[in-house]
Symmetry: C2
């Protein structure tokens, strides 16, 4: 079998995934909603090799990082599979809260589907990607995506709820540092339920989800912004209060959040959200992009801004 390459977008959740009901299968504690991001891309190739080898961003992976990929290959290709060389490149810094594992495992799932001739459809591919990294299941379909938590392996998958051209939005990935975060997302998930607030969070997720879908459907930016910001704080409140508490934010994270809140109060159609990391995702209507970029660039903490639109699903490129 020849080398196969696939590309996938990273995604950013507006309704966050945090906590699992099954750590091995990566079944989430709640539904989540995200958008794919056109310019946060992982390209991943797979080819036959003498032994399993995993290279991410030009670095040969060892230990747990390698194991995670090898286990995924075993899952996809079965025990008798050929040994493989997997090479993945991200167009953006990894382990900084920009979900490179989502785009990485979605691309890998796409590549192995062809490489091992699995013949999986989009729903099945989403299920497979989920087992590599939970949020990777959301990078398989395109556009605005909803991950149904489901009741088991077969029903926990992500689907497009609105196509990528449903609503023209700008999503700025604001890099305040490319330093790798101290605690991996995957580890954090396992302790979500130790937050005293976790049950209260789960109790409101369903109504939040309905409101958010309505806001996206109606293209009601103000409402989506209000919900998105509230979700950001409620989600990080869990992260900070679990045991041990995780505190992902950097000084620059806080500076960007304050600036965007300030602009929003003054009428700019902008709001932000943060994944488990220190970098910030800023959503705005296209006509406000210039003003938002100008303000971001004035902040000393901002190292880089990657402009995105709502992106499509995973694609085979070779």
């Amino acid at each position: 079998m020849k080398r196969v390459s696939a590309k996938a977008c990273s995604n950013v959740a507006l309704l966050k995934y945090w906590g699992r009901t099954d750590n091995k299968l990566r079944l989430p504690a709640n539904n989540s909603i995200s958008v794919n991001l056109t310019n946060l891309i992982s390209q991943t190739s797979i080819e036959e090799a003498d032994g399993d080898e995993v290279i991410i961003d030009n670095q040969i992976q060892k230990g747990k990082a390698k194991e995670r990929v090898v286990k995924f290959l075993d899952l996809a290709g079965g025990k008798g599979r050929v040994k493989c060389k997997v090479v993945s490149k991200n167009s953006f810094p990894k382990s900084t809260g920009m979900s490179s594992s989502a785009s990485g495992f979605a691309a890998l799932a796409g590549a192995v589907n062809k490489f091992f001739k699995l013949g999986l459809d989009e729903r099945e591919l989403s299920i497979l990607a989920r087992k590599g990294s939970g949020s990777a299941c959301r990078s398989v379909p395109g556009g605005w995506v909803r991950w149904n938590a489901g009741s088991g392996d077969k029903s926990s998958l992500a689907e497009t709820i609105f196509p990528k051209d449903h609503w023209e939005l700008v999503i700025l990935a604001v890099v305040v540092s490319d330093k790798v975060k101290e605690v991996a997302t995957s580890k954090g998930h396992e302790l979500a339920q130790t937050s005293p607030y976790f049950k209260a969070r789960l109790a409101i997720i369903n109504s939040r989800e309905k409101e958010m879908i309505r806001a996206i459907e109606k293209k009601d930016f103000d409402f989506l912004g209000e919900l998105g910001e509230r979700e950001m704080f409620e989600f990080h409140a869990i992260v900070m209060t679990q045991k041990p508490g995780l505190f992902y934010w950097y000084p620059g994270t806080v500076e960007v959040v304050h600036k965007m809140r300030q602009m929003r109060r003054k009428g700019t159609k902008v709001f932000c959200t943060i994944n488990t990391g220190h970098n910030v995702f800023v959503f705005c209507l296209p006509r406000y992009k210039k003003a938002v970029l100008a303000e971001l660039k004035k902040l000393g903490c901002v190292q880089e801004v990657i402009e995105n639109q709502v992106g499509g699903g995973v694609k085979i490129v070779i």
Copy 2:
């Protein structure tokens, strides 16, 4: 009646007061625990005048700030009271999360007690101070203080649980900005119950309180630090998730918190807490003070550090 002056320390809570069951009487939703701070001082004087006049930090107060003090004087001195000039000075920046209203109203309560010849004992004075500013009731008694939420006006008061010389600790008030906060604490309290996590917080306060008292009693710094930091995050999680969400932290706040967490992980006996504001309170054992100060001074965000020990109660000075 001649001019009367009183002095009171500000206090910092390790078990936080947030949310009320009665806004007018300032009855808190939960018990809280604090220490008085020797070098965050308000000195407040009262004397007869032709009309009510309130001067804080050399500024003549108008509108709501003046009204709050005038209402307090009415409460203490009765409707037929003489008109008064109240002059208050803080040794530290006000409205930045360092509880100048606690020390200010405690000092004022002490002064009016003598000025109006009320003859209140410490418990009664704590009740009176509470009606000016909730946390002021904790600045009336000395040392380590517990505010019993109580079931009504007469039972909601603060008392010393350990004297100020019980445990020699250093408490550094770290000023990252003297900018006035956007939303006053008093306003924030009223909306605490709009956080989806508020009930869950109240449900754990009692066990937290017991643990904290045990940690102080046994002078178990590690345990107190763990509880204190957890409480800081759980408290700010409520503040951020109420409606509208309040986000008091500055970039510098986050920088100080990370640095102190890092030092703690490496064995330094240090931890921090934050009130409703951006400045940070750092607790450490005396033998670590030098090292902690050295690290704080390296941070560009730190404007000033005010060193404190555990302070005493309100005192008449003239």
